[in-house]
């Protein structure tokens, strides 16, 4: 073995320049990561600082007071948001999950490819145009803004995510589970529902939670479908209040009291979204851990 020539290994000026450049760009990338965290920190800080003082029992239970009177709460908006999310799940989950099952288990060939393609298309449609579509489809024919229209608009926002997540997760289920069930003589549909779907359930739950988190904060598709209301929900065929729309109305109002309530509303919304995201991560981590 030849002796190592130290002078060849020592860093020359060109090499030192390369290392300096590498350090420079590494630092640049680290700085861009830091820059991104500034607005996140600022938003969370403002929402907590300005919103926390308004948290009270009445905020969640009371109706808004008429213009000019201070006090009142967003009880109707919180309840309305729950109703709208419920309706969105009612309309959107069966379609979303079962279309995902179709793509992973049943469909093949051109039809499946076309459906996969349209799910992607739907995911890229701006949510405000979904609002316009549901307006033309439901509001015009019912001649009234309604909770049903709002729920439908939110369902359309949520369907593509749920479909694609379901499909991806079902494909991760090991084929030998399916084969074992079929080998025992279990009918194919029971295998799909009780073995395959059951195994993928935690992952699908994660996808659903993330979809709900997204839909909970959507304002644009509700503006001309569910509209807004200053009262408790009177029925599913009536306009209904929702947290995002109420925050929008109060945030853009000139009244300090309303703006304070909007900050509290924003705090609630951010908290809901945060909790759903963390829960989704926890579920995903646990099911991954179990699989190993």
């Amino acid at each position: 073995m030849k002796p190592v020539r130290e002078d060849l290994l020592a860093a020359g000026p060109a090499e030192r320049r390369r290392h300096a450049r590498s350090l420079f760009f590494t630092a640049l990338c680290a700085i861009s990561a830091a820059i991104v965290l500034v607005p996140l920190g600022s938003i969370l800080l403002y929402v907590v600082e300005r919103g926390a003082s308004g948290l009270s029992w009445t905020f969640f239970t009371a109706l808004p007071k008429p213009v000019g009177e201070t006090g009142g709460g967003m009880g109707n908006a919180v309840a309305g948001s729950l109703v709208l999310i419920g309706l969105a799940c009612l309309f959107g989950l069966p379609v979303g999950v079962l279309a995902g099952v179709y793509l992973a288990e049943v469909g093949r060939g051109r039809l499946a490819a076309a459906i996969r393609f349209t799910a992607d298309v739907l995911a890229g449609v701006p949510s405000i145009t979904i609002g316009v579509f549901v307006y033309a489809l439901v509001v015009v024919s019912m001649r009234r803004f309604s909770a049903i229209a709002g729920g439908l608009a939110l369902a359309l926002v949520m369907i593509p995510t749920v479909t694609r997540t379901t499909e991806e997760l079902l494909r991760l289920v090991p084929p030998n589970l399916r084969e074992a069930a079929l080998g025992l003589g279990v009918p194919a549909w029971r295998t799909t529902v009780f073995v395959v779907l059951r195994t993928a359930a935690p992952g699908i739950a994660t996808g659903v939670m993330l979809a709900v988190a997204r839909v909970a904060g959507e304002t644009a598709p509700l503006l001309f479908t569910a509209m807004s209301s200053r009262y408790w929900a009177a029925g599913l065929d009536r306009p209904i209040a929702s947290l995002p729309v109420q925050i929008l109305t109060y945030a853009t109002s000139p009244y300090a009291d309303w703006q304070a309530q909007a900050w509290t509303g924003a705090l609630c919304l951010v908290a809901i979204v945060l909790v759903l995201n963390l829960a989704a991560r926890a579920v995903a981590a646990r099911s991954l851990g179990a699989r190993r």
Binding site: L40, T118, V125, T129, P187, G217, N277
Partner: protein
């Protein structure tokens, strides 16, 4: 390592619709199975029909405006609901300029973040850091708008815009009084909102580049940056372009945050400091109040245009990302 197997698969599936390994799984004729297949197929077809229904509905709703204004709808900048004269140019302008501004601000940062998270950050920091970046995507649009009105707009009005006007005021881009509300505010808010979209897709694309390429470069004595620059980024290029287009698609359709900070003035102005408006904003502001058929139809045509542009961008982007991941991501 080539595109051949990826291309061969769908071809094979197309020529033999009942793949041989599936056939024995599915004994035909059982009622439950047929029912289950029927139900899932029907619901999947619902997904298939929605975008087409949307297109038909939007075209139908905007027929009156298309008939009345034709191509001048795209070039006229009068928006006068009282006299029934509608031109969408200010809205197209606002959407395009605010989105491009957002891209200009967000793309370098997003790529930096993605490279940092995929290649450079300490392993233990990657998970929590990427969660924080993704959290930005989860914050509702209306909260961004609210924060924009009370934090970003005053910051721009009192510090950034006077500085820009004083030092770069010779450019037509930075002329006019510092109002805070305007194109610049919209661009900045949009930039913040699309960073997570772009960076997470770029990160995915970078991850799809085979480790062997990095190892080969490192083995030749490349520094970490040289490895990224010469062994990773070239393979990821079209995927990165796709990520940028997806970010653009997201920016074009973004409604609430933009509406709250852009100033909502339907005028075409070159200056970024001036208030402007956008396609999504005019829908959010005026759709529920439109009182004549023609007005509603003009707004529907804007929705149709928005739908069309978003559609084309998304398809192009998905194709680019898919192509990159398929090419570099095949087992090495």
């Amino acid at each position: 390592m080539s595109a051949a197997p990826a291309e061969a698969l769908p071809h094979a599936a197309a020529t033999t619709p009942s793949a041989p390994q599936r056939a024995p799984d599915r004994p035909r004729g059982r009622l439950g199975d047929r029912l289950f297949e029927g139900v899932t197929t029907a619901l999947a077809i619902v997904v298939l029909l929605v975008p087409s229904a949307m297109l038909i509905e939007l075209v139908g709703a905007s027929r009156k405006a298309i008939g009345a204004f034709g191509a001048s709808f795209l070039t006229s900048s009068t928006w006068d609901p009282v006299h029934g004269s509608f031109g969408a140019l200010p809205f197209l302008w606002g959407t395009v300029v605010s989105s491009l501004l957002a891209l200009a601000l967000a793309v370098p940062v997003s790529i930096g973040v993605a490279i940092f998270l995929a290649e450079l950050a300490p392993h233990r920091a990657r998970g929590p850091l990427s969660f924080l970046v993704e959290l930005l995507a989860a914050i509702p649009s209306v909260v961004y708008g609210f924060w924009g009105v009370f934090v970003l707009v005053p910051l721009l009005r009192e510090h950034v815009e006077p500085w820009l006007a004083a030092h770069l005021g010779f450019l037509p881009l930075f002329q006019g009084p510092p109002l805070g509300f305007g194109m610049l505010a919209a661009g900045v808010v949009l930039a913040i909102m699309i960073v997570p979209t772009v960076s997470s897709i770029v990160r995915e694309v970078l991850r799809a580049v085979p480790a062997a390429q990095r190892e080969a470069a490192a083995g030749l004595g490349a520094t970490p940056w040289d490895t990224i620059r010469f062994a990773v980024l070239p393979s990821a290029r079209s995927g990165i372009v796709g990520a940028i287009l997806l970010g653009l698609g997201r920016a074009l359709g973004e409604t609430m945050a933009v509406t709250m900070v852009i100033g909502n003035r339907p005028k075409v102005s070159v200056s970024l400091l001036d208030p402007a408006t956008s396609m999504a904003s005019v829908l959010a502001n005026e759709f529920a109040e439109a009182d004549s058929d023609l007005y509603l139809s003009a707004l529907s045509e804007i929705a149709l245009l928005l739908f069309g542009v978003a559609l084309i961008l998304n398809l192009l982007a998905r194709w680019l990302v898919g192509a990159t991941k398929g090419r570099v991501g095949s087992p090495a």
